[in-house]
């Protein structure tokens, strides 16, 4: 079981591959999964909606990495320091294994030639990655590992066999105007989270597609209430860099300071001020040394300013908050074991497509933990999928069926209108008074509208070939919004990033996870935290 995926003959207008492992998504998690699977003997195809190397939230940005030297005291501090922020929903065992895996894989990046900076003491600093550089390297390493990459090839639906196990996926090649099918023994979903086309940096390919496909095959989601972080950017621009706004002063139109406003621990004050009018920022608290470090560490942060003639350190500029959804939330596909398997046989999840509740609980401050999780969960999912594929063996060609539903099947209703549907979903998830500041009545009202949209869209005609990717994106955004708000309604407290105006404090009795699932009927169900399960088992 080695070598490359085999290209089969196929009917006109489509290509077909036979693989052991199919990876959907070519960001950090997807490329780590593909390399890991190939290193464990699998023939791998990786399909990306865009271009593996530029696609996704990491490629366009710079990201911190939760890289901690293996000193027990440092590791303990790194884990303990995050627990309160995450609402005590992390799992120590998963945090520890994520730190181990991230350390090992970051060091491999160095071996592969990633140009880590060296500090004044001659020490290589490995807790930050430049997205373009990192993802260019990951594409190169994926190819070197024998992975077959399909670019501009969004997956539209999973294939399942008679027993309900996942058996591949089917999609479109946008630049070839044809279709692809990959028959595979296991599939890794690494399609990222859902940022609802908010134009937060690099995220417009991240529309929750993997959640929808997985849910159609019967997978469950979890922690979807932790899905409402907003990132600061110049009002006109796309570049979000929360870290740098730590040196900002935020002001109203008249120049007076917005009370309590801060990038960290005061973003809600910015959101409330934005509902009243314009808010301005100026990075006036950065000294010359910090300014220089910012310039060299994140050149793209300065593009919007340099190209409009604004000096962000000495001049104020209008800012906005762009929804990051589950890209920087912690909700995603529920994983059921150490290999990042989902509840569906043959289906694995990694990166932002998977829940990050195990390492982050209900809050992630920045890219750092998500980046560590992408490396680690990608590595584990790739290996898990390769091992699963080997056990599945060279079974005779299975009878498979297509699992896709909404926008793919003729229902005889109204024509599917992707752009209109996407806007309608944005109208429910962008407003701060619905999503940032949640409350039962407002969530309930929003859910009624979202459910009605689902009822109409799922009874619509199949989308036209030229529209089908957009239609599936809009449907995935809609499904994601419904899991988010249903989960938000099920958590009657404020914890992590989930804040309820009607339940403003954390309730100790609710230290559990919330599982969600379903498409026509969305359901939620509480699930015990590992600590509680262990305590009960010991009684």
């Amino acid at each position: 079981m080695t070598g490359r995926a085999e290209r089969l003959s196929a009917t006109a207008g489509s290509i077909e591959y036979d693989a052991d492992v199919l990876v959907l998504g070519g960001g950090p998690a997807g490329t780590w999964a593909a390399i890991s699977a190939a290193e464990h003997g699998a023939r791998v195809v990786l399909a990306d909606k865009g271009f593996c190397g530029t696609s996704g939230a990491t490629a366009a940005a710079g990201t911190g990495v939760w890289y901690i030297d293996p000193d027990p005291a440092l590791r303990e501090a790194a884990m303990a320091g995050r627990e309160k922020m995450g609402g005590y929903l992390q799992d120590r065992r998963w945090m520890a294994r994520t730190l181990d895996c991230t350390f090992a894989q970051s060091n491999r990046l160095a071996e592969w030639g990633y140009p880590y900076p060296v500090d004044d003491n001659g020490k290589s600093q490995r807790n930050s990655l430049q997205g373009p550089e990192y993802m260019r390297l990951m594409r190169k390493r994926s190819k070197a590992a024998g992975v077959t990459i399909l670019d501009h090839s969004p997956a539209l639906e999973l294939l399942i066999d008679d027993g309900g196990a996942v058996a591949g996926a089917a999609g479109q090649r946008r630049q070839k105007d044809d279709r692809w099918i990959v028959r595979a023994r296991a599939v890794v979903i690494a399609t990222g989270g859902c940022a609802f086309l908010s134009k937060t940096l690099g995220s417009n390919v991240l529309t929750g597609d993997g959640y929808l496909m997985a849910a159609e095959a019967g997978a469950e989601l979890t922690s979807m209430e932790f899905s409402n972080p907003y990132a600061i950017s110049a009002a006109f621009g796309s570049v979000t860099k929360t870290l740098f706004y730590g040196w900002a002063t935020f002001t109203y139109e008249d120049g007076s300071v917005v009370p309590g406003a801060a990038s960290k621990g005061g973003r809600s004050a910015i959101a409330r001020a934005l509902t009243q009018g314009s808010v301005y920022a100026q990075l006036d608290r950065a000294n010359e040394e910090v300014r220089q470090s910012m310039r060299v560490s994140q050149p793209n942060f300065f593009l919007p300013f340099d190209r409009t003639g604004i000096d962000p350190f000495t001049q104020r500029f209008p800012v906005t908050l762009r929804l990051e959804g589950t890209v920087r939330g912690t909700g995603g596909l529920r994983i059921v074991d150490d290999t990042c398997a989902t509840s569906v046989p043959g289906l694995y999840a990694a990166g932002d497509a998977a829940t990050r509740e195990l390492v982050c609980g209900g809050f992630t401050g920045g890219g750092s933990h998500n980046a560590a999780w992408a490396m680690s969960s990608g590595t584990w999912a790739g290996q898990g999928a390769a091992d699963y594929a080997r056990l599945a063996g060279s079974a005779p060609r299975r009878q498979v069926s297509r699992a896709g539903t909404i926008a793919l099947r003729e229902r005889g209703g109204r024509p599917f209108a992707p752009a209109q549907l996407a806007r309608a979903v944005q109208d429910e998830v962008f407003p701060y008074d619905l999503n940032y500041f949640r409350e039962a009545g407002r969530l309930g009202g929003s859910l009624q509208r979202l459910d009605a949209l689902w009822a109409e869209a799922s009874n619509a005609e199949a989308a036209a070939e030229s529209d089908v990717m957009r239609a599936r994106e809009a449907a995935a955004m809609l499904a994601t919004a419904r899991w988010m708000y249903r989960s938000g309604l099920a958590r009657n407290e404020s914890r992590g990033m989930h804040r309820r105006d009607d339940f403003p404090v954390q309730d100790e009795r609710l230290r559990h996870y919330i599982t969600a699932g379903g498409l026509d009927e969305v359901w939620t169900s509480p699930r015990a935290h590992a600590d509680v399960s262990y305590a009960e088992a010991a009684e």
């Binding site: 909606k49 865009g50 271009f51 190397g53 530029t54 696609s55 996704g56 490629a59 366009a60 710079g62 911190g64 140009p115 880590y116 900076p117 060296v118 500090d119 600093q125 807790n127 930050s128 430049q130 373009p132 550089e133 670019d151 501009h152 946008r174 630049q175 134009k199 940096l201 690099g202 995220s203 417009n204 390919v205 110049a234 006109f236 621009g237 796309s238 570049v239 870290l243 740098f244 730590g246 040196w247 040394e289 910090v290 220089q292 470090s293 910012m294 060299v296 560490s297 994140q298 050149p299 793209n300 300065f302 593009l303 919007p304 300013f305 340099d306 190209r307 409009t308």
Partner: protein, 106 residues
Amino acid sequence: MIEVIDAERCTSCDICVNVCPTNVFDKTDGIPVIARQGDCQTCFLCELYCPEDALFVSPFADAAQSVDVVALKQQALLGSYRRAVGWTDETRELRSIDRSYRLFGH
């Protein structure tokens, strides 16, 4: 959003068509065209990958802008991002100049 493919500099290598994550460009018999500007997510990556510094992404994410290419060239703004991240021969040393470790924990 992407505003400029400079016909003077573009060599029709089509790299931008391949690398754009949102498939904004189309190949033609000559130089590529910006076929779906509204799909541009203003990530600046096409600029970074253009070996000829022929592209310009305006920082305005939500609205098209009229852009003066002559002025951009005079201000050396074409290719400014590529130089800043060290993806040119002259600036290679910048690839490892990340100082984020000095900023974390603020």
